[in-house]
């Protein structure tokens, strides 16, 4: 249920993200999902890739700082209110969310990646609430 995510430190400077993406291109890494958190000084690039460990090493070999973390992926209908329903489950269970990002995967289906402060509690609550949790493999195969 937990999906490995790579977090990469980027300076908030022209061309930094491009440099990271160039490394991924050379390694023939196909990005499944991506988000970028930015502040005035720095950014954190978060990626879901099929081979997280290998990709981490590749980036580190190019002097990037990379951390592996875990997120939860939930499948939902691509219609108004779907995301709200999922957040409602977390809210009812008093679970804080650090961040999330979502994308439309294919027709009628969207996926949200969630990072609850406590991932185990988050998964428990989502399962009990009837959310459609999906595995890493399913994301990689999209």
């Amino acid at each position: 249920m937990k999906i490995k995510q790579l977090s990469i430190f980027l300076e908030n400077r022209k061309g930094r993200m491009r440099k990271a993406l160039d490394v991924l291109e050379k390694g023939q890494v196909s990005i499944r999902a991506l988000s970028l958190a930015d502040t005035s000084d720095f950014g954190i690039l978060r990626l879901i890739v099929p081979e997280p460990e290998g990709t981490k090493k590749l980036l580190e070999d190019h002097d990037f700082i990379v951390k592996t973390g875990k997120v939860v992926a939930v499948r939902m209908e691509d219609e108004p209110g779907s995301l709200g329903k999922i957040l409602g489950i977390l809210d009812e269970n008093d679970i804080n969310l650090s961040y999330l990002y979502a994308f439309v995967a294919k027709e009628d289906m969207a996926i949200v990646l969630l990072h609850p402060e406590n991932i185990e509690e988050g998964i428990g609550a989502l399962e009990r609430g009837g959310a459609d949790l999906i595995s890493a493999q399913e994301i990689y195969e999209l």
Partner: protein
């Protein structure tokens, strides 16, 4: 007007006789009362009696800032503690500061030299001096204060900060002379304009500025903004404080109060004295100080001495504007900062690589210091708030070490250039060249 015509316009030959007599006395007193000097002189086999000419000063060992630190707190005092009536310290917040002790007579000397300088600026008893230098352990506030009182001016001891209040007082009290650091002066002028004050109406007579590196460009700015001539004040805590050398109306070099402070210029590499007019490191000797006579202090300030006839009538030797330092000390908002202090702070934090850069700028007339630090896996977190927290933590460590707020920027690993040998860590982007 000249405050002390006899001393300031003295015939050079006569002055040299006076300097020699004072040097012999001060060396003897230091040798007999300060163990540090006895040891140093004994080590090089020089006795106070060996000082037969002024040139013989070159036989004496130098005194460094480290020597003064090692004698913390009162090891350099040449009188019993009860005769010390005031103490100041240098601004260094690392380790121990340098302590400076003054007897009653030393305070008189300090007042005298500052009175001479303020008179050079045109000060007289009718003037109201707004002293924005800090009062406290810093010598700036008190030094100016004593000189102004000696002249008989009215002193407004407002200290630094409270900028809007400064402007209000300037206007309401009709301040005629303002004492500032150049950067604070420019900031003050800017806020004055924002507050709708017409600086031309202030009718300022003069601005005295010191405690920071400056340029002719900055002087012009100060003068244009305040519509008054601006004069430089030089001094350092170890020797006394402000008042060691000041500019006259010529605005072309600072007259050194050489009957109290004996100046030499050395080559910082060979440590040999250089020819007059050549640039090198300024070395100062207290000729009259009782409480803490310092012999051949290496100031690390780069300048040149020039003897000649000044149109102001004074025969006191002139030194150039300080053009640099022989060490890597930076003055940021008037505070002395060494890159090694920043390094020391960084080493206290786990997961920080010892690669950093210091960038000093002056965006709005006030100094800003940025420290660029390479991020490491230990420091990096997936969460923004933790990364911001780590950045704040580093800023706090540096603040504790240097006493200044800096901006820390986390950069990617290996983006700070490694250099062989001496690393270039400091980028001072303030312009001091003209």
């Amino acid at each position: 007007m000249i405050w002390n015509e006899e001393a300031e316009c003295m015939d050079q030959k006569k002055r040299e006789e006076l300097q020699l007599k004072r040097l012999q006395t001060v060396v003897k007193r230091a040798y007999e009362n300060v163990p540090h000097y006895k040891n140093r002189l004994d080590q090089v086999g020089v006795k106070p009696d060996d000082i037969k000419t002024l040139k013989d000063i070159e036989k004496l060992p130098f005194t460094s800032k480290e020597d003064l630190r090692e004698s913390y707190p009162f090891g350099m005092f040449a009188v019993p503690p009860r005769e010390i009536v005031e103490i100041h310290t240098s601004s260094g917040t690392t380790g121990k500061p340098v302590v400076s002790g003054y007897t009653r007579k030393d305070l008189d000397t300090w007042s005298e030299v500052m009175a001479r300088g303020l008179t050079m600026f045109g000060a007289d008893p009718d003037d109201i001096i707004q002293n924005t230098h800090g009062y406290g352990l810093f010598t700036g506030g008190f030094g100016v204060h004593y000189g102004a009182q000696k002249v008989g001016c009215t002193v407004i001891p407002i200290s630094t900060g409270q900028t809007k209040r400064q402007i209000e007082i300037m206007e309401d009290f009709n301040s005629s002379i303002v004492i500032v650091t150049p950067s604070y002066g420019l900031y003050l002028a800017e806020v004055a304009v924002e507050e709708g004050l017409d600086t031309e109406k202030l009718k300022l007579k003069a601005i005295g500025f010191g405690a920071e590196m400056w340029t002719e460009g900055m002087r012009r700015e100060l003068q244009n903004r305040f519509h008054a001539p601006a004069y430089n004040i030089y001094g350092l805590t170890e020797i006394m404080g402000p008042g060691i050398a000041l500019e006259c109306q010529e605005q072309d070099g600072l007259h050194v109060m050489e009957d109290h402070f004996y100046p030499e210029i050395i080559d910082p590499e060979t440590l040999e004295n250089v020819e007059e007019g050549e640039t090198g490191e300024l070395v100062l000797t207290n000729l009259t100080r009782e409480g803490m006579p310092i012999i051949r202090f290496r100031t690390k300030d780069l300048t040149a001495l020039r003897r000649g006839k000044c149109s102001c009538g004074r025969s006191l030797i002139k030194m150039d504007r300080i053009t640099g330092r022989t060490d890597d000390m930076l003055k940021v908002r008037g505070v002395a900062v060494f890159p090694s202090q920043v390094e020391k702070a960084l080493l206290k934090i786990d997961g920080i690589e010892p690669h950093y850069q210091i960038i000093v700028t002056r965006p709005q007339h006030l100094d800003e210091m940025e420290v660029r630090v390479e991020t490491s896996p230990e420091l990096f977190s997936d969460e923004v708030k933790e990364l911001v927290g780590a950045k704040k933590r580093i800023e706090n460590y540096i603040h504790d070490e240097i006493g200044l707020r800096v901006k820390v920027t986390l950069v990617e690993p290996k983006t700070i250039p490694r250099s062989e040998g001496k690393a270039v860590r400091v980028f001072d982007k303030r312009k001091f060249d003209n």
